[in-house]
Subunit: 257 residues, 2 copies
């Protein structure tokens, strides 16, 4: 099982939308996927039609030693399961901050589970922050997938997450972690800014940047309010086609371990 | 000087865009405004044409006892000044987490400065999180202004920030803090979702919701890349008109103290 952190400290760039829809498209194409909602906002949880707080979150493993396998819930989609989240996880940052092992505790839990896991991929939806939950995910993951909004602030933040990743790698917590890819999101073909940002990112990050670009699509904004992934809610929409193409490209870059 | 926290833990909803442009429009209408960038991403800092890291941030007051007055920098706009930010502030969450007074330290600093301040308003741009920096701002502020994106996840998160505010009030850190207003942002007249979210918020929060609705406007996305406020970058744009109207409505609700 490969563990992939979907992270970017910039808010509202499509982390949750990518976790849910890349997960659902990979599952539809036959991969077994677990989405771990690590954001106390629990948007991935509600986007997959769960009610935050009804099931235990990863908090139970991080703070109370529960077995990760018991936290995994099946979703309405075959091959796709979730570890839901709720607001209680927000309190865990302060609790973890006071523990010596805060950076590697999640890594220990997930790597122990990996030995018995029946999934090909685990996608971790991260909160918009530079805090302990996000760095824990970077310490636990094999790879980092960065959703990047085609906007100026998105570009500004890219160097920061790269720095944080380097810090986690050089700290010894996760020496082999690398950037799996950068996915451009909410591309608006009507503006020059979108094109300028895409060209700048491609110039600097070259083949790390996915060829698939996710367009701004009204259906993508609407699907979470129905608790459905985009390929179920509006399979013919531009958003659904883009995430299916992204899943195809993702599988080309990986062969499940 | 009234202290107003501009906060919402949901990412990408327009906190920075509102801090910068409400600030600039209030200043253009004659109010003296200080924008405090409390987000280590330092987006307000770069949107007002400062380079993050070139000037000391509020970190110097929170951790090293610097006088707040020495941190205030003039911007290119008359009546508008800034306390810039940089990535160093991210480290302060862990340092503050270990201090007993973490919730009220910012409040103490800003209330001491208020006695000598020559400004009418201080707007605090908060990071997208439920962490210590955001709760510090809620403990320090007289009022909370909530930018709310006209999307499903935006609506989901509203009850959480209201809960966090109540927690700060009942903790005794800031008993009188209240919600100043809710500003609907990135309204897209092409989608039903926008209208559904606006009506739901107006139904529950009634007159707390500003009449002014900020439309999705390409110019608003572009202006930060030029380091200019929208009323300077494209004064005739829908975004500029909306933030001027918001400033007018804001002044009607306040008389500077
Ligand atoms: N390609 C798209 N087109 C249109 N709307 C989108 C698209 N991707 C995401 N959205 C909408 O934009 C908003 C932000 O996306 P999302 O919540 O996935 O970002 P995020 O990075 O997870 O946010 P946060 O930082 O709060 O966790 C959501 O309301 C979502 O429905
Ligand atoms: N009304 C609008 N129309 C179009 N684009 C907008 C509008 N308001 C903000 N934006 C753009 O949307 C993105 C998100 O806005 P902004 O950065 O202000 O949100 P934020 O809440 O401060 O984000 P964060 O949670 O990361 O701090 C930015 O790229 C900004 O330029
Ligand atoms: Mg999210
Ligand atoms: Mg911001």
């Amino acid at each position: 099982m490969r563990i992939i952190a979907i992270a970017n400290q910039k808010g509202g760039v499509g982390k949750t939308t990518t976790s849910v829809n890349l997960g659902a498209c990979l599952a539809a194409q036959g991969s077994r996927v677990i989405v771990l909602d690590l954001d106390p906002q629990a948007n991935t949880t509600s986007a997959l039609d769960f009610i935050p707080g009804e099931h235990p979150s990863i908090y139970d493993s991080l703070i109370e030693d529960a077995d990760v396998a018991t936290l995994i819930q099946p979703t309405k989609y075959e091959n796709l399961s979730i570890i839901p989240c709720d607001l209680q996880l927000a309190g865990c940052e302060i609790e973890l901050a006071r523990a010596e092992d805060h950076l590697i505790r999640l890594r220990g839990i997930l790597h122990a589970y990996r030995a018995v896991a029946e999934a090909d991929y685990m996608l971790i939806d991260c909160p918009p922050s530079l805090g302990i939950l996000m760095t824990s995910a970077l310490a636990a993951a094999d790879e980092l997938l960065i959703p990047l909004q085609c906007e100026y602030f998105g570009l500004m933040g890219l160097s920061e997450i790269v720095k944080v990743l380097e810090m986690v790698a050089t700290s010894g917590a996760n020496p082999d972690v690398e950037i799996e890819g950068i996915v451009m999101t909410m591309a608006d073909s009507r503006t020059n800014l979108t094109q300028q940002v895409i060209e700048e990112v491609q110039r600097v990050f070259k083949s790390t940047v996915y060829n698939t670009i996710i367009p701004r699509s009204i259906a993508l904004g609407e699907s979470p309010s129905h608790g459905r992934a985009i390929i179920d809610y509006k399979p013919s929409s531009a958003g659904a086609k883009a995430y299916q193409a992204l899943a195809g490209e993702f599988l080309e870059r990986h062969s499940p371990v």
